[in-house]
Amino acid sequence: MSVIAFAKNWNGKFKNSTYELVSYTKNLADQLNTKLIVVSIGEVNNDDLKNLGKYGAERIISVNDPKMNILTSQVYAQVISEIAKMEGASAIVLSDNESGKAIAPRLSVKMKAGMASAVLELPISLNPFVVKKSTFSGKAFGHVQIDSPVKIISIAKNCFGLVENQVDVLIEEFSPHLDASLFKIQVLEEEKQTNKVDLADADIVVSAGRGMRSPDNWGVVEDLAEELGAATACSRPVSDEGWRGHEEHVGQTGKVIAPNLYFAAGISGAIQHVAGISRSKCIVAINTDPEAPIFGVADYGIIGDVMEVLPKLTEAIRNSK
């Protein structure tokens, strides 16, 4: 028996969310009194793989093949299920991100295994196997019981944190037999936003809404974000107006995020927006309207014009360093 964590790399590197995944799955394996096996697909050098040992990855099965560098969900699901069957896995854990959303459901069908996504904690109960997950886009939590012998879960970012548990790492290479016809995706171009903090990974997010009055005023938002090493985001009307790109839209139909600190500048706090940020550890609201609903969910609030408050805040943070 074993529990498998699928560690996705991007360009050969792991992110904090992968270390969190390994931390979580190590704990789950201990609870189930079984072994953790980490599966890595695509080219990653041994030093990076060994880093996973800091969080409890004692045994890593690595499919270190450049052909696998492009995420092809059909191929990845095939490889993970093959390893899971070989190792008698009772649970497979993935991160609830772009790759997890592509692979976990395919694994579920392949292995006839029930699946729960956006899981927020270690299981509430092991027998029956019940996990707590985000539902209604963050407006509620659901307890999901998985009844199949194999369980598949994807865990939400910041649900568990990083837990160090240094072990000696054993890396095994694995070469699956794959039909060439499965590789149907060809990457033509990759566009990366350089010098910007990725919103999905950010510990601090500075977000702004229609209260900014014009896209030309975003300099003060970016200045604060830069001072804090934060990502920038926006509310739905702002992305719908084309003031900012859709990838910055935070809310029920945009990105659901869980940073440690979220600044809502000139955002009224419609129910759909709050749904996307409610798992933030700390929320700061800045708005001219003292009746704005955002103050109902914020930890700290300032009543004032964002164009005046944000530069003062940037300066105060700079002075406090």
């Binding site: 991007w10 969900s73 059909q74 699901a77 991100n97 772009e98 959303k101 592509a102 976990a104 459901p105 395919r106 579920s108 069908v109 392949k110 295994a113 029930g114 699946m115 996504s117 956006a118 985000s134 539902t135 886009s137 407006k139 509620a140 939590f141 659901g142 999901v144 019981q145 009844d147 149907k184 995706i185 060809q186 171009e189 566009e191 990366k192 910007k196 990725d198 990974d201 601090i204 859709h246 990838e247 839209h249 029920q252 139909t253 600190l261 129910i271 759909q272 700390c282 700061v284 103050f295 109902g296 914020a298 930890d299 700290y300 609030g301 300032i302 009543i303 004032g304 805040l313 105060a316």
Partner: protein, 249 residues
């Protein structure tokens, strides 16, 4: 080329969520039901592709798993412009069941492209689209923010951490789509509503399918304490509180 759009029937996004029967069931009293926002954008893009004379899309259908009470949502999809709606008459107990039902239909009625919203705004499973791809052994691409058709080749953009990838792939394909796929959802016109009455809404019996998961209970988030207000003239106090009280700086 034929496109099938999977439609989920969800509470309006402004719904204040409540539960009943000891928090084991969603309380749908007074709830306004809508097409899941991502599915609505997927349908919009599918119709745009059909209207574009530069490619060969000639049919856009919608499919849904649910009871008769969801017909209004399917009629809306027809009023927006879908050619045909299919309702699989079953209770959508979990994603595996829903995807299995849609795959069973697809096996008898093949489509070239299947669109599915990245998640439904109620149970947020993020799984039906990719499950259909696996049931059908189709290629699948998730987190798709743009779709274009160039002859028989599909050019898609998908999100990756910190950016996006432009990819080329081929049919048959399940594209799991997210924001950006279309700009504005379409509003049904009076003509569209009139025409929808004449369009086919096919009802199919559900096939036997296992249910692997169940929702056993719901909780609401704890209400937050009062917001601590800081004078706009003294923002340094906020910085101090974020550092020493909240410990997030």
């Amino acid at each position: 080329m034929k496109i099938l759009v999977c439609i989920s029937n969800v509470p309006d996004t402004t719904t204040k969520v409540k539960f009943k029967e000891d928090n084991t069931l969603f309380d749908d009293s007074g709830v306004q039901w809508i097409i899941n926002p991502w599915d609505e954008l997927a349908l919009t893009r599918a119709l745009e592709l059909k209207e574009d004379a530069g490619n060969s899309v000639d049919e856009v259908c919608v499919i849904h798993v649910g009871g008769t009470q969801t017909d209004a949502t399917l009629r809306k999809a027809l009023a927006i412009g879908a050619d045909k709606a299919i309702r699989i008459d079953g209770y959508p107990a979990d994603a595996y069941y829903v995807a299995g039902q849609i795959a069973a239909y697809l096996k008898e009625n093949p489509f070239d492209i299947v669109f599915s919203g990245i998640e439904s705004s109620d149970y947020n499973g993020s799984s039906v689209g990719a499950m259909i791809a696996e049931f059908m052994d189709y290629s699948g691409v998730s987190s798709v923010s743009q779709v274009n058709i160039d002859k028989d080749e599909l050019i898609l953009y998908r999100a990756i951490p910190g950016g996006k990838q432009k990819i080329k792939t081929e049919v048959p394909l399940v594209a799991v789509v997210q924001k950006g796929i279309a700009t504005e959802p379409r509003i049904p016109s009076m003509r569209g509503i009139m025409m929808a009455r004449k369009k086919p809404l096919e009802v199919k019996a559900a096939v036997e399918m296992e249910i692997l998961t169940k929702s056993v209970k719901f909780d609401l988030p704890e209400t937050k304490g009062a917001c601590k207000m800081i004078d706009s003239e003294h923002v340094e106090q906020l910085v101090e509180l974020l550092k020493n009280e909240a410990k997030v700086l």
